[in-house]
């Protein structure tokens, strides 16, 4: 049986985790209910609330005549861990990165590199510019030696050989 000391703590709201178990035991034991009643009564007398009360017997009969109320369980809406400001900031960031990617010459790799090391990126851009110039020179030279027929490169020769066969 539950100790009355625990009921005393329960009356004071100091019972801790054992609440449900304590209540079950109070329901089951007249001595425990008596203790609950007495301790609350003592508190009311000391607080000058008074002694006079209503009849529990009568109340119990009235309560027994009532249909048992059961509150619908409140479905707690699972809160999104992303608050609205974070969501808006994330959206803006995404659009910004996407825009930068679409409208700039940098590849996603470049973007990430640029993000991490802007100095390295500017050097890389300079190297790429030099590389582009070299390619342009090579292509110009290639066009000068390439046959002027149907297409550039090896394709005209391949076409010629296929006709021969």
């Amino acid at each position: 049986m539950v100790s009355k000391e625990k009921i005393s703590s329960l009356v004071d709201g100091e019972s801790g985790e054992e609440f449900d178990q304590l209540l079950d035991e109070i329901h089951a034991s007249e001595h425990c209910r008596e203790a609950w009643y007495s301790y609350n009564l003592i508190g009311d007398v000391l607080n000058k609330t008074g002694v006079a009360g209503a009849s529990l017997d009568r109340f119990r009969r009235s309560l027994d005549a009532e249909p048992t109320v059961i509150a619908p369980r409140v479905r707690v809406k699972k809160r999104d861990s992303w608050n609205p400001f974070v969501r808006i900031a994330a959206s803006i960031s995404f659009v910004g990165v996407l825009g930068w990617y679409v409208f700039s010459d940098l590849s996603p790799l470049d973007v990430s590199v640029a993000w991490k090391n802007p100095e390295l990126t500017s050097r890389q851009i300079a190297l790429e510019s030099a590389y582009d110039e070299a390619i342009a020179d090579y292509l110009a030279a290639h066009n000068q030696v390439a046959p002027r027929a149907a297409g550039p490169g090896m394709i005209p020769e391949i076409l010629e050989e296929s006709r021969g066969n």
Binding site: W36, V51, D57
Partner: protein, 224 residues
């Protein structure tokens, strides 16, 4: 008791005051809310515990509206039954007693309207103080002279037993019941572990309870 209160107010912990009392009230609110949740889950007996706890406060409140003992009893009973019916809608935003208080006041007012009467003392319930107290109410509103005598005896016995308690028990229960301190705060004031506070309050209650038990066994039937 005066000495205890004096010591409390001039004690070593300046933070004890409204802020800490509020934390105690929160604890009581949580206790009531847990009981309410049990009732909302279909446990009727948990509501009997709430009745057992608050019936005297509601009784005193209603007695400000009507003088007749029978009427007070009827309104108190009705208020609790109404509260029980409405309990599924109680969400716990306010304290249970605050919610119950409104139900009891409305029930009493409706009763007066339906019986086309004015309350006996309007100024009494016009106050916002839920727990305003008049000394003459302490021993009133029982149905018979015999039960009124018992009520008076209970009050006197509680107070006299308090005076006879050892100092440490009396101090512990005074700090709890009158000052409304939590066990932790009482431990700080009294300079002892919380377990000791728990034990002292329990022993004080048991000592008083033993004295009043014979008076509770007589009267209008079982009280618990």
């Amino acid at each position: 008791m005066e000495a205890i209160l004096q010591r409390l107010h001039s004690g070593p912990s300046p933070k004890i005051g409204a802020e800490l009392v509020a934390s105690v009230k929160l604890s009581e609110k949580e206790l009531d809310l847990q009981l309410v949740r049990r009732v909302q889950g279909g446990d009727k007996k948990a509501f009997e515990l709430l009745f057992s706890k608050y019936q005297r406060r509601v009784n005193r409140l209603v007695s400000r509206f009507v003088r007749s003992d029978e009427e007070v009893e009827d309104i108190v009973q009705d208020s609790f039954i109404k509260a029980y019916r409405a309990l599924p809608a109680f969400r716990g935003d306010s304290a249970f007693y605050t919610w119950l208080y409104r139900i009891a006041v409305n029930t009493a007012k409706n009763y007066l309207v339906s019986s086309s009467r004015r309350p006996h003392a309007i100024s009494d319930y016009g106050s916002t103080d839920e727990d305003g107290f008049r000394e003459d109410e302490l021993v009133s509103h029982m149905n018979t002279p015999e039960s009124e005598l018992i009520t008076r005896e209970i009050a006197e016995t509680v107070n006299s037993t308090m005076s006879d308690l050892p100092d440490d028990l009396r101090e512990a229960i005074t700090l709890r019941e009158i000052e409304g301190l939590s066990y932790e705060e009482i431990a700080e004031v009294m300079g002892c572990p919380i377990g000791t506070v728990r034990s002292r309050i329990f022993r004080a209650r048991e000592a008083i309870s033993e004295k009043i038990k014979p008076m509770l066994d007589v009267g209008e039937g079982k009280r618990w």
